[in-house]
């Protein structure tokens, strides 16, 4: 009796030390188990509750639930699990940021970028025909990536429209996305551009706004010709419209809605468009300086531009568009191992957070506009890259930055590793991609791109892209265990790896901190050197065969598995290049009276340290990409290379 009393006293003492949040978690455990044991799952979306089917039945008749909870009895184990793992959709979001995956939408993007805007537009329509959701991913040619205009100068000319689309003006952007309703919630557009990202983004936003204007003009039967604007020589879509393109976005080619509509109407339509557009612009200048080298402005000026974009997004309620895609992909492609990829990417993310905070923005106003982009390779650490990223982000956001739940949720796109594709035995590449895709899907990625097997040697073909898409579809629709959405939880290996990788990332954070944070470390080329060292380490082991790669350094075929060289590769045609240059010259001519003043005004805004993105939204109506970057070089400084 005495003993029981003693025990109860001890219990009461200990219970006082238990944090109320932890007590709540423990008290709610039985309730939680009940919630996850039904045939359906009550899913809250804003203020509605949906009952979603929770079980898939196999051919043998076994019901596979979407989420399984641990069978622990010990409160210590239960609490630890809730504090470090928890169900998907609950802090620290280790297993995922949403309770369940989205139904009926495979996280598949539609990639295109070749030739001029018309060819890419045609391709976009071809790949998205009949799809319920439009998820366009845009690759730009290297001329555009470096912020220059197409030109006859041979060293520029040869690159126009190759390995990406040539976009030099707002009219090009309008053509590129014509026939897609950019303000429809089912349309989302991603743009892989960094150095000149704010300018291309302003092209895109104007294209979206002018689509809204076009709808209004048609609805109210307003005549553009009556607006008194010069109607001669307006640009046109080159060639017939492809199947699926209804012409939306082409009516105002050469014009802006603000030329045609009364200011108050235009402002209303603009506000509506800005609040509706969905998509992502990569715009991650830190990883460019660390790994990919498409910097054009000085790093500080680039960061200022990014901050201006984010500030504009907050002021104009651009809620469904990611202002940056904080990317580890290119860091990994340059040779970083998965731990460095994750540590550098997250530290870059926190650098943007600190910079935006220092500019007076509020954490919960901008954190939901941040997204992440990782690479998935073969190394064991890749199996937990999403888990560790989500967990670190959530813990830091909640405890360090006091951010709300929405801000704590790290969402990411992931792409299978391009570096792991080899030019020998290229058929084997799909096998690697499949395994990497499985890692990604088991890890509950928010969006996935699977590379085509021939990408190591050439521009992928329709056939190879279809196979790459099939990889995702086969896993999602055929693979039985992928019907479950938390297959990683409860694995001893996965739990161990998660802890080890998290610890390694935090150690790297401290190393970067010792060097003055991300920017201080960059000044000493710390990240760049580390990536190079890790790349050499891999090359060395690949060379000696210690790191086996089937069909490359082991298991060679009878003829030695030679490198495959493509017969020919897809290149832009002379006609396309000429059309782009002609269109650009016509644009410059049409705007010759206004462009100089617009550029001058832009420079003044820079000198006065005002918001440059707000001004760019106007500048792009009259100026080309190259004109704008050159004007900005004079007030913001060019990128200075280093060794």
């Amino acid at each position: 009796m005495m003993l029981t009393k003693e025990l109860k006293k001890k219990y009461a003492e200990l219970e006082l030390q238990l944090h109320p949040d932890c007590k709540k978690l423990l008290d709610g455990w039985e309730e939680l188990k009940k919630k996850y044991s039904g045939e359906t799952f009550a899913f809250k979306v804003r203020d509605k509750t949906l009952d979603i089917p929770f079980t898939n039945t196999s051919l043998s008749g076994i019901g596979i639930k979407k989420i399984y909870l641990p069978r622990y009895s010990d409160w210590g184990d239960i609490l630890k699990w809730q504090l470090q793992e928890n169900v998907p959709g609950e802090f620290p979001y280790t297993a995922g940021v949403f309770p369940l995956k989205r139904e009926g939408e495979d996280p598949t993007r539609m990639f295109a970028g070749e030739g001029g805007p018309e060819r890419t537009n045609k391709r976009f329509h071809y790949v998205s025909l009949g799809q319920p959701a439009i998820r366009l991913s845009t690759a730009f040619d290297s001329v555009t990536l470096y912020g220059e205009d197409p030109d006859h100068r041979p060293d520029i000319y040869g690159k126009v429209g190759n390995s990406g689309v040539s976009i030099a003006t707002v009219d090009d952007a309008k053509k590129l996305y014509s026939g897609f309703n950019l303000c429809d919630p089912k349309t989302s557009v991603s743009m892989t551009i960094n150095g000149p990202a704010p300018i291309i983004l302003a092209f895109f936003m104007n294209a979206a706004i002018d689509q809204e204007c076009e709808k209004y003009i048609k609805e109210h039967k307003i005549s553009i010709a009556d607006s008194g604007l010069p109607m001669a020589d307006l640009p046109k879509y080159n060639g017939p419209l492809p199947e699926g393109n209804n012409g939306l976005g082409l009516q105002l080619l050469g014009l802006s809605g603000s030329d045609v509509l009364p200011a108050n109407v235009y402002e209303k339509l603009k506000a509506k468009a800005l609040a509706s557009v969905r998509g992502t612009v990569q715009a991650d200048i830190l990883k460019e300086d660390q790994a990919q080298n498409t910097c054009i402005f000085s790093t500080e000026f680039s960061l200022k531009l990014m901050g201006d974009v984010q500030e504009y997004f907050i002021q104009h309620a651009v809620r469904n568009f990611y202002s940056v895609s904080i990317s580890g992909y290119h860091i990994a492609e340059a040779g970083a191992n998965p731990i460095s990829q994750l540590a550098f990417t997250l530290s870059n993310g926190f650098t943007y957070v600190e910079y935006y905070l220092s500019r007076g923005m509020k954490i919960d106003d901008f954190a939901p506009n941040l997204s992440f982009f990782f690479s998935n390779g073969m190394d064991p650490e890749y199996s937990v890259i999403g888990r560790v990223a989500r967990r670190i982000w959530a813990k830091a956001m909640k405890n360090k930055y006091k951010a709300n739940e929405r801000s704590q949720k790290l969402k990411y796109h992931i792409q299978t590793s391009g570096r792991s594709l080899h030019a020998q035995e290229i058929d084997f590449n799909d096998i690697r991609t499949t395994l990497q895709a499985l890692y990604a899907i088991y890890d509950n990625c928010n969006s996935l791109h699977t590379n085509a097997y021939d990408e190591a040697i050439t521009t992928p073909t329709e056939e190879s892209v279809r196979r790459a898409m099939a990889i995702q579809l086969i896993i999602n629709r055929e693979l039985g265990t992928a019907k479950n959405e938390n297959p990683n939880q409860g694995s001893f290996l996965i739990e161990e790896l998660t802890d080890l990788v998290e610890e390694a990332v935090l150690t790297e954070f401290k190393r970067i901190a010792e060097r003055g944070g991300v920017l201080g470390a960059m000044e000493r080329m710390y990240q760049r050197n580390k990536i190079q060292e890790e790349s050499l380490h891999y090359e060395h082991l690949k060379h000696t065969g210690e790191y086996p790669i089937v069909g490359v350094n082991t298991f060679l075929s009878k003829n030695g598995s030679p490198t495959i060289i493509p017969e020919e590769v897809i290149r832009s045609t002379a006609e396309e290049k000429e059309f782009q240059i002609t269109a650009l010259n016509a644009f410059k001519k049409r705007h010759s009276e206004k462009s100089a003043e617009a550029l001058n005004h832009l420079q003044q805004v820079a000198i006065n340290n005002e918001n440059l993105f707000a001004e760019l939204m106007e500048t792009v109506k009259h100026c080309s990409l190259g004109e704008i970057t050159h004007a900005l070089f004079e007030v913001g400084g060019q990128y200075r290379r280093s060794m």
Partner: protein, 461 residues
């Protein structure tokens, strides 16, 4: 192992325009250096014209380019055409682009006159070293052989880049002796410790010079050390230069060719050749020097010492000879911690050295600057001060229009100094959370155990 070379081999390396893939060319240029070549590395994203002009000004035998972004046919042919146009067809072009350059295209380019484009198969057959040895060996020729310069009078102007460059080569090779000219053309000597940002400061001075004086010309002679072991050198100053690509500017990189010097033996001749070409202003930039080196003073009218706030204890300043001699002292990277203390310490030392105890700090020729910052007020001030010193010392008048009033005075703070530990704080926050989670779980575990025991005992009751 370095190759037995008859001539000093000089090669310009770069990645092509709009192409950020610089990993391969960086590996190649290191091997070239190890083989004994002097490499002028331009880095990534370089236009055909920039590369060709650098090659001519530097009087190299070869250009080595990687191109992974397409457009290689046009790019390589254009470089070839530009060289021909400028009568520099002797400069050989080498290239590579992995699998992006098709075999048929390799053939087309080599037919056109490109010395060699290497394919992945060449890489496998010859190895990296084999390819580089071939490049360096093919570049082992005398660029000045066909030149008629030797017998010509020095009738040069600032646009005769090829002739200027080849004369400097001849001087370096001891083939001509240039008599020192009596000249009023001012020479600014820039020296300082390695890593102080001399090249960035130089670039910013050149930019301001070209902008302020639209009819003036400038020559930059920049010295980097040779490696004793291989004889090779990385001449890396051009990579930092954004402003040099102008018809009014000429730049030449020299290797010391003796490893323990901050300057080449032929600096005086190079300066005299530039004077003979009637440049209006000459900048001589030395390799990074130790605390005692003052050799630049023998070659310049006005000297500037570039340092950073990171020199260690104030007593270190007592050992720096240039604090006695430099006309101007620039404390670069002035955004670094302790910059104001450094300024104070350097002023104090300067006053002691020059017995100027009564002078105010602001009146000393000591300027804090941030060369990496665009339109930095410190660099503007530095430029004005330098031009003033030039006038005092040489009489050459360079009147600086007052520089932009909107210059950036302090570092536009990306991360405020008080927040610079953010990553460490995040790591600590997470570690604290993890510890807390462990503690709480332990408490929960004990509660579970006690609860179990009580239940058990209640049952036995």
């Amino acid at each position: 192992m370095s190759l037995p070379l008859k001539n000093k081999v000089r090669i310009v390396t770069a990645a092509s325009l709009f192409d950020g893939h610089d990993a391969a060319i960086n590996i190649m240029r290191r091997i070239m250096q190890a083989k004994g070549a002097e490499v002028i590395h331009l880095g990534h994203n370089r236009s055909a014209r920039e590369i060709v002009e650098a090659a001519i000004q530097e009087d190299v035998q070869g250009i080595a380019i990687t191109s992974y972004q397409g457009g290689h046919i046009e790019f390589f042919k254009y470089m070839y055409d530009l060289l021909q146009e400028r009568h520099c067809g002797h400069i050989k072009i080498f290239g590579g682009g992995g699998g992006t350059i098709l075999p048929s295209e390799i053939e087309e380019l080599q037919q056109y006159g490109i010395a060699r484009i290497y394919s992945p198969d060449d890489g496998r057959k010859m190895g990296l070293e084999g390819m580089i040895e071939e490049v360096v060996t093919q570049c082992d020729f005398d660029t000045t052989q066909q030149s008629e310069i030797e017998n010509q009078q020095l009738d040069l102007n600032t646009t005769n880049w090829k002739e200027i460059a080849q004369l400097i080569t001849l001087a370096e090779n001891g083939k001509v002796v240039i008599k020192s000219l009596k000249s009023t053309i001012p020479v600014l000597g820039i020296t300082g410790t390695g890593g102080a940002g001399k090249s960035s400061v130089t670039d910013e001075i050149v930019r301001r010079f070209l902008k302020n004086f639209p009819d003036k010309t400038i020559a930059v002679i920049s010295v980097d050390p040779s490696k004793k072991k291989t004889g090779g050198a990385l001449l890396g100053d051009r990579i930092r230069m954004n402003s040099i690509s102008s018809p009014r500017a000429y730049m030449r990189s020299l290797a010391t060719r003796e490893s323990d010097r901050a300057l080449s033996k032929h600096v005086q001749e190079a300066v005299d050749i530039c004077r003979a070409a009637h440049f209006d202003f000459i900048i001589l930039e030395s390799a990074g020097v130790g605390q005692s080196d003052t050799s630049i003073l023998d070659y310049c009218n006005v000297s500037m010492y570039v340092m950073t706030p990171e020199y260690g204890a104030a007593t270190q300043l007592e050992k720096i000879n240039m604090l006695d001699y430099a006309d101007v002292i620039a404390i670069n990277k002035f955004d670094k911690a302790g910059a104001l203390d450094a300024f104070h310490d350097v002023c104090k030392q300067y006053k002691r050295n020059h017995l100027l105890f009564e002078t105010k700090n602001e009146d000393l020729p000591i300027v804090g600057a941030i060369a990496s910052q665009f339109n930095d007020a410190g660099v503007n001030h530095l430029f004005e001060l330098l031009m003033k010193k030039v006038k005092e010392k040489t009489g050459a008048e360079f009147h600086v229009k007052h520089t932009s009033a909107k210059a950036t005075t302090s570092r536009s703070q990306i991360i405020p100094p008080a927040r610079v530990r953010y990553l460490a704080e995040i790591a600590e926050t997470i570690e604290r959370y993890d510890e807390w989670a462990d503690e709480q779980s332990e408490i929960a575990r004990k509660l579970y155990q006690i609860d179990g025991t009580i239940t058990l005992m209640d049952k036995e009751k």
